[in-house]
Symmetry: C2
Subunit: 370 residues, 2 copies
């Protein structure tokens, strides 16, 4: 039951990406890592020392399963400003957004249920659904929907008004994953499903994309009637999210300007996205891509059927890596070769060089296939 249809593909891609990680000569457009240059290391170090110095020792001791009260209030206040009628009690701190999604489906879904997703979606969510015996589908005639309303992954576009309306009108429960929402290049807040359908929205957020993934601190705001059950599931899963990361964040939110950090991050990623799109249009004009509205990546489609993992092997030999599109697809196989390209953790000169290598690899791949 755990093996998805594409497990051989997964294993191959995993092996290739691990080789890439160990090869400093390969420029990686894969992985969706945030820019390490944006990590506010001095602020984090100072907050860590302050947290370790507190007499309550909360940074190192056990905490409650629902997490730090101050952090939950801060998250609730930000969501209230966007129209949610919630308070700190509605927020549960999770071990990253991934656990928030896992808790939502554990509470709401049974084996055999269907999950409505975009035609391309976040691979770790698709893997999770399949591991739990759920079937991803692109139809809204499903048991539950999983969406990224503000900025999607891999396309980095938001849901338009018609899609939002269809979702709200569908009446099905919604997992709204806002991992990238605060990283829209236009800085606009996305429509908040938690505000529009509070009784059936499982709202998911995280610090992993905006601040750093290493803390593994995310959050889930479930419909109120699911709170107790989710807390039971959270305790059973891992007792609580790590105290140290929560304690550092609790210190940081007291004085650090998170919104100014978001502004810096949006500008950096906006410039990198523009460089990536420009390079793809220039070096690979036959590739189709949509304009990203935020986030870390673009999704490009070729007009050639084939095995994207084979192309990845050729690309790595040319000194560049990407995420094969098949990992993001609800229906794997059969379609044209497609790629997710991430600009987020490469400097602009490296992005341009990576796309140059990708173009050379594509030529070599086509020659080989001919």
């Amino acid at each position: 039951v755990l093996r998805s249809v594409s497990s051989a593909h997964h294993a191959l891609v995993d092996r290739l990406q691990r080789n890439v990680a160990a090869s400093p000569d390969v420029l990686s457009l894969a992985g969706g890592l945030p820019a390490a240059s944006l990590f506010p290391r001095r602020v984090i170090a100072a907050a860590c020392l302050a947290a370790l110095g507190r007499t309550d020792r909360a940074a190192l001791q056990y905490g409650w399963p629902e997490g730090s009260p101050e952090l939950r209030e801060w998250i609730a206040a930000r969501l209230r400003r966007r129209g949610a009628g919630i308070d700190a009690d509605d927020v549960i701190i999770t071990s990253g957004a991934q656990q928030a999604i896992a808790l939502a489906i554990a509470a709401r879904c049974s084996e055999g249920d269907t999950v409505a997703v975009d035609p391309e979606s976040y691979p770790a969510a698709l893997d999770l659904f399949r591991a739990r015996g759920l079937e991803p589908t692109t139809s809204l005639a499903a048991s539950i929907a999983y969406v990224m309303p503000g900025v999607g992954n891999p396309r980095s576009t938001g849901l338009d008004d018609a899609a939002m309306r269809a979702l709200v009108d569908s009446g099905i429960p919604i997992i709204a994953d806002e991992a990238y929402t605060d990283l829209r290049f236009d800085g606009r807040d996305a429509r908040l499903l938690l505000g529009e359908a509070p009784d059936r929205t499982f709202h998911v957020g995280t610090f992993s994309k905006t601040l750093c993934p290493g803390f593994r601190i995310g959050w889930l705001v479930p419909p109120r009637e699911y709170r107790d059950e989710i807390l039971t599931l959270k305790s059973a899963a891992d007792l609580q999210a790590n105290s140290l990361g929560q304690a550092i964040l609790t210190e940081m939110i007291k004085t650090w300007d998170y919104d100014a950090h978001l502004t810096r991050a949006r500008r950096l990623y906006g410039r990198r996205a523009a460089a990536l799109c420009g390079a793809v249009r220039h070096f690979l004009p036959a590739f189709r891509t949509s304009e990203p509205e935020g986030g870390f990546s673009i999704f490009v489609e070729t007009d050639r059927d084939g095995d994207d993992a084979s192309f990845l092997e050729v690309a790595i030999a040319h000194g560049v890596a990407f995420d094969p599109g098949r990992s993001f697809r609800v229906a794997p196989g059969g379609a044209a070769i497609s790629l997710r390209l991430c600009h987020s953790n490469l400097r602009i000169s490296a992005i341009e060089e990576a796309v140059r290598r990708l173009a050379a690899a594509w030529k070599a791949y086509l020659r080989k296939a001919a």
Copy 2:
């Protein structure tokens, strides 16, 4: 399916313990918290600064689902010294021991399976089993066994040779939770089930009791054939254990003397356990308790049937708290009132005062019941 038979009891005890946590006047023998005075805060702070200063930014970035290679090698080497034939690849870093247990049963068990446990066992494991539709039983004629071989919880005694032999001879899979094993007062290594039955032992360890719980860093060594499946389940659950805690530990193990720390911890807990046992014998001579061999707690049994949560309410009114024995019992209700008393996070004078108050509360409870 999520509601255990004792959920009302759980909710009441949870509310009482939260009130206790907010009441500085109540001395708490509950909770199983490690001694905050043992947290090596300066060593942790220095390791954190070193980790944050590394150019690879691994402390803040995403990592692999199986965790830090250096940490896994360190864990494997310690287990090899006790007779396990494993290497770093066999070790998976988890979000605490709780997740390690959860992953083992997710890989090995199906709804309706039975789990052999001690007559009293770790409540969060019992809750987990029940949440997943498994039935705890005290018989070895079960689908799987969950044991704490070196130091049990709540009794803080190890499995004797006959119990170990019966377990090995049973032929069923074994979850061996060694959370407290390094905290045996005699400093002796417990027999390693991973060495005796490697093909069916899921070995569980953690830094939560020996170092600090706030990192949420534990580990699972599954039988080799389950490694890939467990990694898939781990990724689905929360992608990876938090990077920061792993990076700090990776720095600490380079130079810090963990074994010297264990020696200090064993001495401190040994003294506190002796004080607790002495005080119980002195002030509550009718209570039955066994001699703890390590760990944080003792389990005491009275000769009165009744509701241990009601006694807890009386105790709190007298300025002392404990963990009701029912939370640890496989078959809740019907038995004599029993209590887990933790000495781990109270100074010796506070332990003695807490037991004095407990004796006064017991007298008041008996008067009330009469």
